[in-house]
Amino acid sequence: MMAKEYTLSVFTEDQIGLLNRVSIIFTRRHINIESITASESEVKGVHRYTIVVNESEDLVIKVVAQLDKQVAIVKAFYHETSEIVYQEIALFKVATSILAAGGVAEKIVRKHHARVLSFETDYTIIEKTGHKEETQELFDELEPYGILEFVRSGRVAITKPMKEFKDYLAEIELASTH
C-alpha cells in the first residue's frame, strides 16, 4: 500500500510518561514521526498530540487502534491532509546587515509576508507561519544571504469534521462505566 501523509490527533489524560507510551507505539513498528506537538486541548485536563507520519493507511489504522487501547488515551483519530487545517511556525535569525541596506533580503521577507519579531543591531528574528513548503521556501531564499539560526515547529492541526471532542469524551466516559 502507498505511503501518504497522515495527521493523527491523540487526546490523552494529563499524566507523566504518556508521551513515552505514545512514541513506543510508533518506534516498535519502526515508524518515523515527521512531527509531533503536544498541548492542552479545549477540554481542561485533556492533552492533544498532533503527530504527522508518512505511512500506508492500513498501517495508520492499526497504529491508531493501538494508541486508542492505551488506558490513559481518551481517543485517537487520523486524518488525510485534505481533512485538516494546519499550520507550522518557523523562526529565522539573520544578520541585520542583510536587511538594512534595503536590499534583496528585505524584499524576500516582504514577499513572504513574514513578520519581524525582534530587531537588534547585530541580528533580526523573523517569523513565518505557514505550511512546511512555505517556510521552506523562505528558508531557501534567505539561505544565500546567511541564516544564523533556524527552527521550525511541529504541525498543529484542527480537523474539518464538525463533531466536537467533548462529545466523544462524553460517549467514552459513559462507556467506561459499563
Binding site: 490523552t12 507523566i16 510518561g17 489504522i61 487501547k69 488506558v71 467506561s176 462505566t177
Partner: protein
C-alpha cells in the same frame, strides 16, 4: 475498608490496600527500597502469605501461574534496580498472554530520582512497552488510589500486567487511609458494548455455511465463557480447534474438539483452515505461529472475529464481521441467533485427516518401535493416563511444550498453563508453584525440558522451603531440542550451541530435599510415571528421550497452513 479514615504510614497503606483487594497470597523478593513494605507485611502475616521465590523472575511467573488457573490477579513484590529489572521478562510474558498481574516495586527516595542513586533504575520507563498501565507514586497519600486503579486495570477488559513503583519516602510517609475500589477510568472502555447488527450478520453467515470452522483462544478462558462456548458449538455442530492459549477451554476429547492449531498443531485443523467457508475466531489474535503465511491463510473464507480488544480486529487477518465485546455475552447472543445444525460430513473430513496423522505421526510417537529411544509423546501419554487428564499441566517452552499439549488429554477447564506469546524458557517451574498455591486441591505437573529447567532451577529452593507438592517432569534430550530441530531441518544440521552437557539433576533435587527418579530404559517408564503421579509431595522425574527426535507435523516458517508437513 471504606467508611472511616485513619492515619497510617504509606508502607502499611500498601498492605491494607492489597488486603482490601482480596489479596491473600503474593510472591516476591525483598531489598532496600521495598523494605518498609516488607516490614509492614510482618504484621499482617495472618492475612497475606508471602512466598519468597529465589529470583524476581520466578515471582512474576509464579504470580502468572496463580492468575492463570484462578482467574484472580497475581501479585508480586520486588525492590528497585535489579529487583525491578528482573521482573521484566515475566511482565512481558503476562502482557502478551493477557495475564492479570500487579507488580509493586520499591523505588529510591523521590529526592534521589534521576540522580543515578544506588539501585535506582527507571522501571516505569523500562516497563512501559510491556505493561498495560504503570505509575510511579511519590507520596503516601497517593498509594491507595494507585493500587485500586492498578487492580482494576489489570483485571478488567483484556487483562494484563500493571506496575506500581513506590518511592521509599512515600512508603515512610503518612496517609489518611480510606480505601475505595476503582470501578472505572474515564478514558478506558474495558467492556465495549456488543453491536446487535454484528451478531445478526455473524448468525446469517453461520446459518448459511456449509463448512463453518471455529478457532478458540485464551479469550474463552479469560471471558469465563465455558458454558456459553460449549453450548454454541454443540448447537451449531461446528468443529472447533484451539490455540495453545485456548487449550483446556474445551475438553480434549469433546466430539467437536478437532485439535491444535499452528506450527506443530494437528494436521486437519491446519489443512482445513484453507477449505472452510466461514471461519469463526473466538478470543484469539491470529498469532503468526497459528497462521503461517497470512497471504495464503483462509482467503476463501468469510471471517467472523469475536474479540474484546478492538486493536486485534484486522490487525493480522481482515474480519468480514467483527464482533467486538466479551465473548461470554457474544456467544450467548450468537447461540440464540443461530440454527441448530450438525456438520457430520464436514466433521468427517477432520476425522479423515486425523487418521492420516495418526498413521504417519502419532502412532510412532506414542508407541515407538522397540529399540528406539523413548519419545516425549509416550511419556506424556502415560502421564495423561496416570493422572486421568485431570492435572494442571504447566509447560515450559520448546519441543516438550508442543508434545505435552498435543498428547495430554485435558479434561479440566483452565488446566493448561504455558508461555504462549513470549515463549519464555524457564516459565514452567515457577508458574507451577503459583498454580499449585492457587489450587492446592489439584495436582500440578510441570513439564520442562533440560534447557528451560536450568533457566529457573533455583526455584527448587522455593519448593523446598514451602514444601509445596509440585511434580516436575524433565524430558531430557540433552539438547535445546526445538532449536536443534530447526538446525536439523533448515540449517543443514549445523548444531550451533544447542548441545547441553547437563548436571546430575537427581543430585540437585536431593540437595533441595526433593525425591526423584531417572528413567533411561522404556521398560521402567510406566512404573516410574505411576510413582511420579501418585507420590505424596514434590517429586522430580527425569526421562532420557531420543536426542534427535523431531516434533511433527510442522508448518515451516513462511509456509501456508495447507503446506503442513507430516514428516
Amino acid at each position: 475498608m471504606g467508611g472511616s479514615t485513619h492515619r497510617i504510614t504509606g508502607k502499611e497503606a500498601v498492605v491494607k490496600s492489597l488486603i482490601a483487594e482480596g489479596v491473600d497470597l503474593m510472591f516476591g523478593y525483598p531489598g532496600g527500597a521495598i523494605m518498609p513494605v516488607y516490614d509492614a507485611l510482618y504484621d499482617y502475616q495472618d492475612q497475606i502469605k508471602h512466598i519468597l521465590t529465589r529470583h524476581e523472575q520466578g515471582a512474576t511467573h509464579a504470580a502468572q501461574g496463580y492468575a492463570r488457573v484462578s482467574g484472580k490477579v497475581g501479585v508480586c513484590l520486588a525492590t528497585s534496580g535489579p529487583g525491578a529489572t528482573n521482573l521484566i521478562t515475566g511482565i512481558a510474558d503476562a502482557q502478551i498472554d493477557s495475564t492479570p498481574m500487579v507488580c509493586i516495586t520499591g523505588q529510591v527516595a523521590s529526592h534521589l530520582l534521576g540522580t543515578d542513586a544506588f539501585q535506582e533504575t527507571d522501571v516505569v520507563g523500562i516497563s512501559m512497552p510491556v505493561t498495560k498501565w504503570n505509575v510511579q507514586v511519590t507520596k503516601a497519600e497517593d498509594i491507595p488510589a494507585a493500587i485500586a486503579k492498578a487492580f482494576y486495570i489489570a483485571k478488567s477488559g483484556r487483562p494484563g500486567p500493571v506496575l506500581v513503583d513506590i518511592t521509599k519516602d512515600a512508603q515512610f510517609g503518612e496517609v489518611d487511609f480510606h480505601y475505595e475500589k476503582c470501578t472505572n477510568v474515564r478514558s478506558y472502555v474495558p467492556q465495549p458494548q456488543i453491536n446487535p447488527e454484528a451478531i445478526q450478520a455473524a448468525a446469517a453467515l453461520i446459518n448459511a455455511a456449509k463448512k463453518p470452522y471455529l478457532l478458540f483462544g485464551h479469550g474463552v478462558l479469560l471471558g469465563d465463557a465455558q458454558e456459553e462456548f460449549q453450548a454454541f458449538i454443540e448447537k451449531t455442530g461446528i468443529p472447533a480447534a484451539w490455540t495453545i492459549m485456548g487449550l483446556s477451554a474445551l475438553p480434549t476429547d469433546h466430539y467437536l474438539n478437532v485439535g491444535m492449531l499452528g506450527m506443530h498443531g494437528n494436521y486437519g485443523p491446519n489443512l482445513l483452515t484453507n477449505q472452510c467457508d466461514v471461519l469463526i475466531a473466538v478470543g484469539m489474535r491470529f498469532d503468526d505461529r497459528v497462521t503461517g503465511d497470512v497471504s495464503r491463510y483462509a482467503t476463501q473464507a468469510k471471517v467472523i472475529h469475536l474479540e474484546l480488544d478492538p486493536a486485534e480486529i484486522d490487525k493480522i487477518i481482515k474480519a468480514d464481521v467483527p464482533v467486538i465485546g466479551n465473548c461470554k455475552t457474544a456467544l450467548q447472543l450468537l447461540s440464540d441467533a443461530v440454527n441448530e445444525n450438525t456438520h457430520k460430513e464436514w466433521l468427517q473430513e477432520f476425522r479423515a485427516c486425523d487418521a492420516l496423522e495418526n498413521e504417519k505421526v502419532i502412532q510412532e510417537e506414542l508407541h515407538p518401535s522397540a529399540g528406539k529411544m523413548m519419545t516425549m509423546g509416550e511419556v506424556i501419554h502415560l502421564v495423561s493416563e496416570a493422572s486421568d487428564g485431570k492435572a494442571t499441566l504447566v509447560t515450559d517452552v520448546g519441543q516438550h511444550q508442543m508434545v505435552a499439549q498435543r498428547y495430554y488429554n485435558y479434561k479440566r477447564w483452565r488446566s493448561n498453563v504455558t508461555s504462549g506469546g513470549l515463549g519464555t524458557m524457564g516459565f514452567a517451574l515457577p508458574a507451577a508453584i503459583g498454580a499449585k498455591f492457587a489450587q492446592e486441591e489439584h495436582q500440578v505437573i510441570a513439564v520442562i525440558g533440560d534447557g528451560g529447567f536450568q533457566m529457573t532451577i533455583q526455584e527448587l529452593g522455593t519448593i523446598f522451603q514451602t514444601k509445596i507438592d509440585i511434580k516436575i517432569l524433565i524430558l531430557n534430550n540433552e539438547f535445546l531440542g526445538m532449536v536443534r530441530q530447526w538446525q536439523d531441518l533448515f540449517f543443514d544440521k549445523r548444531y550451533s550451541s544447542t548441545e547441553m552437557v547437563n548436571p546430575n539433576f537427581q543430585i540437585i533435587a536431593k540437595g533441595y530435599g526433593i525425591e526423584s527418579n531417572k528413567v533411561t530404559e522404556r521398560e521402567n517408564l510406566a512404573a516410574a510415571v505411576k510413582e511420579f503421579v501418585n507420590h505424596k509431595g514434590a517429586y522430580l522425574l527425569e526421562v532420557l528421550v531420543g536426542k534427535e527426535n523431531n516434533v511433527f507435523p510442522m508448518i515451516p516458517t513462511g509456509a501456508s497452513v495447507s503446506e503442513i508437513r507430516l514428516t
